[in-house]
Each structure stands twice: as structure tokens, then as C-alpha cells.
């Protein structure tokens, strides 16, 4: 009878022993185990991602020639527009460099872009992290900014051999300095716990008292160069209302983020070309 009871609680004992062991082993070992597990899974994730791409490729193969020709034309048009914009940007860059040289201005932070496919959304982080298909193999550093065509995506928080983990702008653990378009004063943006329905949201605080937002004329919240992580002017979201915060003077409000953040396929990682120089770089 007693032996039978012992058999029944065996799984519980095993679980207890495992939890106790996990609890008492040093943090370094835990981190190592977690990283190893993640690296172990990474090739499978990457392979799945390539299979997805292949699936998309075959899905596109099913389009008719007419559709493909139309799409090709559209791409050609976009390409010529981008080429024109690229030339214009280059001219402006040269002009800026000339003016900077005349005014003896300190250098600005410059980045190289590393485009990466999104492998998966991380369930364990309540879908607030994504895994991208580039890691140490492309010199992606922890803390690098991640962007997409709609603006800020997030920041790299973990880099593996083949993949990197990105904390999304929607995550409550993501915080960045920003400013309202046309206003240089920095404010704080932070993600919010998402409801799961509707567009993603964030929050802004420390907005100066004289900033007025309304649903008719929402304010654009953009990245600032002051923080050193993001280049200036990248879209974060739109703010339709602000209310006085607990200080009695600075305002806080909700930020409506880009709905496309919920279905990302490709992002770009901004890798600083040189380490930040606290004394000489333009803030």
C-alpha cells in the first residue's frame, strides 16, 4: 500500500528535485544553459524561416505572367523613384558635410544597415520580442536599433551565432528617448502591455506643458539623436491626447503605434560605424 503511494508521487518528487536543483545552481550556469538551449534551437528556427521563404517563393510562382509583368513595372517605377531620392540624399549629405566642415561641427553618429528576415515572435516574452535571422555572423551588437519602413521596431537585446532577439517597441520593457516632430525637447516613450486586440499602443511622458495634441491634429512622435541609439526623425507613433502627469506640469499620454508591427517580416538593424564618443559626438 505504502509502495503504491510512493509510486504515485514520484513525478512530483522528480519535479521538486528539478526545481530545487534549478533554484540552487548558480546564475552563470543558468545563463549558460539558457543560451545553449537557445543556440541549439536556432538552426531549427532558421531552417523553418528559410522554408517559409521557399513557400512564399512557390506561392508567388503561381502568379500569372501578366501579374508578374505589372508587379515588375511597379518595382521599376519604385526603383527609379528611390534612385532619384538616393541621388538627392547623397547631394544633401555632401552639402551637410561641407557645412559641418565650415562650421567645424563635431561628427554625427553614422550607421550601416543590416537587413534581416524575421524568424519568429517569441511566445515566452508575450509576443513582445522577435527573433531575426542574423546574429554574430553579421556583427550585430546588443543594443543596436532595429527599424522598418514604418519607423522604429525595437532594440537588439540578445545576439546568438545565427539569430538575434529584438525587444519590440510595443514591449513594456522597451524605453527610448524621443521628441515630437518639430520640437527638440526630449520626452520618454515606453511600451505598454498590449491588449491583444486593436493597434499596438505605447505611452509617452515628460511632455512639456505647452505641447498640445488632439485627435484632429495628432502629434508625430519621432526618435531623437540625443539617446545615441537611433538616428533622428524615425517614426515612433502618433499622440492624440496628453494630460497633466503627477508632477503637475509635464504631460503624459498614449502613443498609437504602427499596426504593421504586429506582422513584421523584414527589418533593418542599424549598426553604429564607430563607438559613441561621449565628449565629441553631436548629442
Amino acid at each position: 500500500m505504502a509502495k503504491l503511494r510512493l509510486d504515485r508521487i514520484k513525478p512530483l518528487v522528480a519535479l521538486g528535485v528539478f526545481l530545487l536543483a534549478w533554484w540552487i545552481i548558480p546564475t552563470v550556469v543558468k545563463s549558460f544553459l539558457k543560451a545553449s538551449f537557445s543556440e541549439f534551437q536556432a538552426p531549427a528556427w532558421v531552417a523553418t524561416s528559410y522554408l517559409d521563404d521557399l513557400e512564399n517563393f512557390w506561392a508567388r510562382r503561381s502568379h500569372s505572367k501578366v501579374e508578374l509583368i505589372e508587379a515588375g513595372k511597379e518595382v521599376a517605377r519604385s526603383k527609379s523613384l528611390y534612385q532619384f531620392n538616393s541621388q538627392r540624399k547623397e547631394t544633401l549629405e555632401n552639402e551637410i558635410q561641407r557645412l559641418e566642415a565650415i562650421l567645424n561641427l563635431p561628427s554625427r553618429r553614422e550607421f550601416r544597415y543590416e537587413v534581416a528576415r524575421v524568424v519568429r515572435r517569441d511566445l515566452s516574452a508575450w509576443w513582445q520580442q522577435i527573433v531575426i535571422r542574423k546574429g554574430k555572423d553579421f556583427d550585430i551588437p546588443v543594443g543596436a536599433a532595429v527599424v522598418f519602413s514604418g519607423g522604429v521596431v525595437g532594440r537588439v537585446v540578445e545576439v546568438g551565432a545565427l539569430t538575434s532577439r529584438v525587444e519590440l517597441v510595443t514591449s513594456p520593457n522597451f524605453r527610448m528617448a524621443a521628441n515630437f516632430e518639430g520640437d527638440e525637447r526630449p520626452v520618454v516613450y515606453q511600451g505598454l502591455p498590449q491588449s491583444g486586440f486593436g493597434d499596438p499602443l505605447g505611452t509617452v511622458r515628460d511632455a512639456p506643458q505647452d505641447v498640445v495634441a488632439s485627435t484632429q491634429i495628432p502629434l508625430k512622435l519621432v526618435s531623437t539623436r540625443l539617446g545615441g541609439t537611433f538616428p533622428p526623425g524615425l517614426m515612433v507613433g502618433r499622440v492624440s491626447w496628453l494630460e497633466p502627469g503627477s508632477t503637475g506640469i509635464f504631460q503624459s499620454g498614449e502613443v498609437e503605434l504602427d499596426a504593421r508591427l504586429l506582422s513584421l517580416h523584414e527589418v533593418a538593424v542599424l549598426i553604429p560605424l564607430y563607438p559613441i564618443d561621449l565628449q565629441n559626438d553631436v548629442p
Binding site: 524605453r175 528617448a177 526630449p186 539617446g227 506640469i249 561621449l278
Partner: protein, 650 residues
């Protein structure tokens, strides 16, 4: 039948015991009732005192605007990195254990290395209290190092600061790094993890968009501990953030209006005093805004025109007495005094003598600008008439002393208007002596020269001298002599006035009244219609006034001493003055100009005083102070063309 039943009612010991139990029960019930019903409030208060803490958060100060709604003083964000010590308790304990182990090992090792005879005196127990503070300092410094790494700073924390914070402000956040620049703030926001105990705290500091403009008038604030009387006396331990109070200028005068409403947070704390949960809270509210009469464009014109010179310039609205501009130089950038005054900045401002508001804190001899008052006194007294003339040969003898006119070879025969135009001393020596000091003093007092103006700026000087025979006897201990009268009649001698008084004086003449009440508050349209300056009509006949004004207009004419003030299309009436003054330990020149415009409908009155800082400075009212006044008049035309009598294309 039980044993008890046998003894019931009979056994005296049981009865005695019964009554003891009864008495004890009744006592307990009564005690319980007393504590629950009657003394409940007292215990509630004790419980509150033990478990509740109050945090008072001062509200931000109100803004100060100019008359057109331009922000003169506002609140800017003041960033600091702080940490709530409650969040570090586990780390404190871990660090403390580590230090204790290391210390014990070190003591043991030291003990074993000692000779046997010395071992008895050796201490084997570490100083636990000291090590506790060391542990706390180590933990806090680690966080500061993290901030230093991100910002490039080199900050540190002292054990003393930590002890003081623990003892006095445990519930408030401990500032790790204050006065962060916007880029440092932004870097910390992005690079300090959200879960870190380091919090980026945003407070307010005074912000002055125009820097040095009207610095003395606007004033600055200082962070102080709040008034103990303002803390509720209900026994709950209260922590307070420092509050800002006005120290000078409008910030001081309107402190009650500008001060924000204090917010409150009531926290439940654990037995060690760390916060447990927020029970109640009231958000602080910003103070009221103040709209001043200053016009920032005129103010900037006055500041720019004074430039590097030492002096003051004031522009008043003739009708209402509203101060349109009030500048005092040398000045200082108010932003350099916010959020606190660095010792170096204080010393530097002090060395330049820039703390003094020369428009109203220092008094000077008014020089020839005072001749206008001598003229008024003479005309009212009947000694100066429209026919009065004097032959100025450049010198005037009183007793055995020779007094000079500034025109070495004299002005020739001059009437009153010509005497004003050429600022002839001889005319006023003669007329001053004719009317006597009693008449002159009485007239000066009638125009308010012996009193403070009462403007809404603190520390207006009381060292105002309208000399009289009694005054000289009392203060100097000597009798009055005719030479004193002669000096007073040209604005020299013992006479001392402030530039602000001269501005009110010239505004009063422009309005044909004896007093002007200057104000720095913008008046509403209705109030502006009902301004009562508290004086009386000057008392000149129309012809007398015309004679006076003609002389003043000729001052700014082609042959006048103030010809540099001339502006095409604007009729200006004015008076220049050059006085000798002892300052900085030496004799220096003072250059004055007072005037109003337009003559046909006076709207603006201006007084300018420029103080020589070296005996080599050769300052004159017309050439030094006049151009400053001209710039102010020009800006007035720019800002208020219709009031200046200019046609405006619509």
C-alpha cells in the same frame, strides 16, 4: 449531584473566587469597551503615526509673461537620476554579508599574525554599524558608476550623504546624479534597463527664454526646505521635497501668486520605514501665471542699447504708469542661476557689481534733468515768467565762489526755453537763488522725489535725498549756504534720486500731473481707464506749460543738447543731464536723458542713466544716454506705430 452543587452558595472560598473572576471579567470588558469605544481614536492616531508617512510635493511655479503673451519666465525640465533605497534592500544585505565575511577573515588573519602577548587587546569583532554604511555606499556607488559609464560623468556618493538621506528622507528618492543635460538624460532613458532601480526623475527648474533681459526685475528663485508651519501637525511623519521661493524681483514680490499648490502622498510603511503601499494622493498644481506690463521688444531694445555700459534704462506708459521696459546693467543671465547658483557664478556677478538693480536700488544726482523741476517750481512760485531772461557769460559768482556754466563762453541772453534747450546753469543758479531752497525742496517733494515709488520690485532704495535746511543741519551738521541752493537747482549737491523716479517724473510732466505710480502688472483695459496716480495737476498755466515743453522739444532739436535723439516724424520732448558722482572710489560722470513722445499726445516716457566706471570716461547726457533713449523710441514706433502717431497701412 456534582461536588460543585454541594458547595454552591455555601463555600465562601468559591464565592470569593467567583467574585474575583467576575471582577476581572468586568474589568476586562470595561477595558475593552474603553479602548474600542472611547479611546479608539487615540489608538487610531497612534497606529497612523506608526504606519503612515506623508510626502509633500511642491507644485510648479506659475509662468511670467510680457504684455503681449511672450514667455519671460517658465519652467523647464530638470533631469536627475534617482533611486528609491527600498529597491536596493536585497543588494544592501548581500553586500553587507560579503563585506562582513571579508572583514572577519581579515581581522582573523591579522589576529593570528600578532604576537601572543598582543592578542588579548586585539579586536576580533568588526564595527557592524560602519560596515553597514560601507555596504550601502558600495551598492549605491555601483549604480552611479553605471550612470557615469553612460554619460561620461565622474560622480560619486559620500557616506555622509547616504546617512543623512536615511535619517531624514528615507521615503524620498536618493538623487544619484542631478542636473543632467538633455543628451545625458536621453542616453540614460535608452541605456538603463527599465527594470533597473535607477529612475530618471523629471523635476522643474526656472527657465528664462530671454536670458539677461530684465534680469533684476524678474528675479530668481532659490530651493529651500518648506516652511515647517505648512506641514500638517497631525503627527504623521512628513517628508518634503525642497520648494522654490522667489528671492528677488517679481519672483519675490509675487511669490504667493506664483507658488504652486503642494501635492500630497500618504504612504503605508513597513516596520523599517520603507514604503509599502500608496494610500492617498493629491497631485500638485501649478501656481498662477503673472502677466507683466513689460514689452519684451522694448526691453530687448533697452538692453541692447545699454550694451556693455553701466546704467539703467526705463520706459513707462505715460497714461497708466505701466513699465514697458526696465533694464539695469551690468546684468546677468538668469539661466545661470537655475536650478541653483553656482559659487563661481555668484562670485563673478558679485565682482562685476551686477547684483545691484541700478534702476531702483541705487540713487544718483539727477544733474541737469532736474532743471525741469526748478523751472516748474519757479513758474509756480512766480519767480520765472515768460519774460524772464538771464545773460549767461559762462560764470556766476555766489559770495566769493565762482560757479561755471558748461558752456565756457556762456549762452548769452537766454529765456527759460533757451535755458532748457542749452541746459544753461547760470539761468538756474540765478533762479534757484531767487526762489530759495524751501520752494525747490517743497516742489521736489510734491513730485515724490523724497519717497519710494512703490513699484512691485523689492529692495527699492530708501536713500533718496531732497535736501533742505533742516536736512543739512541734521545729517551734515552744517548750515545751509546759497551755494547749496545753486547746486540743488541744477540737480547736483546733496540731491539723490533713482532712475525709476526720474522716469515717473518725466511721465508725470507728460501727463501734467505731479505723480506717476509705476506698475509692472499689465492692466486690463477697464483698469487702465481708471488709473489714479495719486497726485495733483502740476499747476502751470497753459502758456507756462507750453514754454516748458517748447524748451524740452528744442533740447531734441538741431541746436539742443539732445539732438542725437532726433527721430524723423516723432516729436520728442526731453532733457539731458551730466552729473558728477563719486562711485567705485573715484569721481565719475553720470549721463542722463529723460523724455517723452509724441509731444502732441504723450504715450511713452523714457529715462536713461549711464554711469561712468572710470575717471577717463567722458560721458554726456546727450551723446551717451541720448542714443539709448533713441533706440527705445525707435522700437516703440516699430511696435506701436499708431500710438507714436505714425500712419499704418491697412
Amino acid at each position: 449531584m456534582s461536588d460543585y452543587d454541594v458547595h454552591r452558595g455555601e463555600n465562601p472560598r468559591i464565592i470569593f473566587f467567583f467574585w474575583i473572576v467576575m471582577a476581572a471579567t468586568v474589568t476586562l470588558v470595561l477595558g475593552l469597551g474603553w479602548r474600542q469605544l472611547i479611546a479608539a481614536q487615540k489608538y487610531e492616531e497612534i497606529e497612523k503615526r506608526q504606519t503612515e508617512r506623508r510626502i509633500l510635493k511642491p507644485g510648479p511655479r506659475g509662468d511670467i509673461y510680457d504684455r503681449k503673451g511672450n514667455l519671460l519666465v517658465g519652467n523647464r525640465a530638470h533631469y536627475s537620476a534617482v533611486v528609491y533605497l527600498d529597491d536596493l534592500r536585497r543588494e544592501f544585505r548581500a553586500e553587507y554579508s560579503k563585506i562582513i565575511r571579508a572583514e572577519r577573515a581579515a581581522l582573523k588573519e591579522a589576529y593570528q599574525l600578532k604576537p601572543l602577548e598582543e592578542r588579548e587587546d586585539s579586536q576580533l569583532t568588526p564595527d557592524y554599524n560602519e560596515l553597514q554604511w560601507v555596504a550601502r555606499q558600495n551598492v549605491i556607488q555601483r549604480y552611479i558608476d553605471q550612470i557615469n559609464l553612460i554619460t561620461g560623468r565622474d560622480d560619486a556618493v559620500s557616506t555622509r550623504a547616504i546617512i543623512r538621506h536615511f535619517n531624514e528622507q528615507l521615503l524620498l528618492p536618493l538623487p544619484l546624479v542631478s542636473d543632467l543635460k538633455p543628451d545625458e538624460y536621453a542616453r540614460l532613458i535608452e541605456q538603463v534597463p527599465v527594470q533597473s532601480p535607477i529612475q530618471i526623475h523629471t523635476d522643474t527648474a526656472r527657465y528664462y527664454p530671454y536670458g539677461v533681459a530684465a534680469a533684476h526685475t524678474l528675479g530668481y528663485v532659490q530651493k529651500v526646505n518648506p516652511d515647517p508651519d505648512a506641514i500638517p501637525s497631525d503627527g504623521i511623519k512628513t517628508y518634503t521635497f525642497k520648494t522654490k521661493i522667489g528671492k528677488t524681483g517679481l519672483e519675490y514680490y509675487f511669490d504667493d501668486l506664483l507658488s504652486g499648490e503642494t501635492g500630497t502622498e500618504i504612504w503605508r510603511v513597513d516596520p523599517l520605514g520603507f514604503q509599502d503601499s500608496l494610500l492617498d494622493g493629491v497631485t500638485p498644481k501649478q501656481g498662477e501665471n503673472l502677466i507683466t506690463s513689460i514689452d519684451i521688444d522694448l526691453q530687448m531694445a533697452a538692453e541692447t542699447a545699454l550694451g556693455e555700459r553701466t546704467g539703467a534704462a526705463i520706459a513707462l506708459d505715460v497714461r497708466t504708469g505701466e513699465v514697458l521696459a526696465i533694464a539695469s546693467h551690468p546684468s546677468y543671465d538668469l539661466n545661470g542661476l537655475s536650478p541653483y547658483i553656482p559659487r563661481k557664478t555668484f562670485g563673478e556677478i558679485n565682482d562685476r557689481g551686477a547684483w545691484l538693480n541700478r534702476s531702483l536700488q541705487l540713487s544718483y544726482p539727477p544733474g541737469s534733468t532736474f532743471k525741469l523741476l526748478t523751472s516748474i517750481a519757479g513758474m509756480r512760485h512766480g519767480t520765472i515768467t515768460l519774460q524772464t531772461e538771464h545773460d549767461c557769460q559762462g560764470v556766476f559768482r555766489i559770495g566769493n565762489r565762482i560757479y561755471h556754466c558748461h558752456a565756457r563762453y556762456g549762452h548769452g541772453v537766454v529765456d527759460e526755453a533757451a535755458a532748457i534747450e542749452g541746459s544753461c546753469n547760470i539761468f538756474y543758479y540765478a533762479e534757484g537763488l531767487r526762489m530759495g531752497i524751501d520752494v525747490l525742496s517743497a516742489e521736489a517733494e510734491r513730485f515724490g522725489f523724497a519717497e519710494r515709488t512703490g513699484i512691485e520690485v523689492p529692495y527699492e532704495t530708501g536713500r533718496l535725498v531732497v535736501p533742505s535746511k533742516e536736512w543739512k543741519r541734521e545729517r551734515v551738521g552744517a548750515g545751509w549756504v546759497p551755494g547749496d541752493t545753486a547746486n540743488t537747482s541744477i540737480g547736483q549737491g546733496f540731491l539723490l534720486v533713482t532712475p525709476l523716479q526720474m522716469a515717473t517724473f518725466i511721465a508725470s510732466i507728460a501727463r501734467d500731473e505731479t505723480r506717476t505710480q509705476p506698475t509692472l502688472r499689465a492692466l486690463s483695459y477697464a483698469k487702465a481707464q481708471q488709473v489714479n496716480h495719486g497726485g495733483e495737476p502740476v499747476g502751470l498755466t497753459r502758456k507756462q506749460r507750453a514754454e516748458l515743453w517748447e524748451g524740452m522739444e528744442r533740447v531734441v532739436g538741431d541746436g539742443g543738447t539732445g539732438r542725437l535723439v532726433q527721430i524723423d516724424g516723432l516729436r520728442i520732448a526731453g532733457k539731458t543731464g551730466t552729473a558728477d558722482f563719486r562711485a567705485h572710489g573715484k569721481e565719475v560722470n553720470l549721463a542722463w536723458f529723460v523724455g517723452f513722445a509724441p509731444v502732441e499726445n504723450p504715450q511713452i516716457a523714457v529715462a536713461v542713466m549711464v554711469e561712468g566706471t572710470s575717471s577717463l570716461d567722458s560721458y554726456h547726457g546727450g551723446s551717451t544716454a541720448g542714443p539709448v533713449a533713441k533706440d527705445i523710441f525707435l522700437e516703440f514706433i516699430e511696435q506701436y506705430p499708431e500710438r507714436a502717431g505714425f500712419q499704418v497701412a491697412r
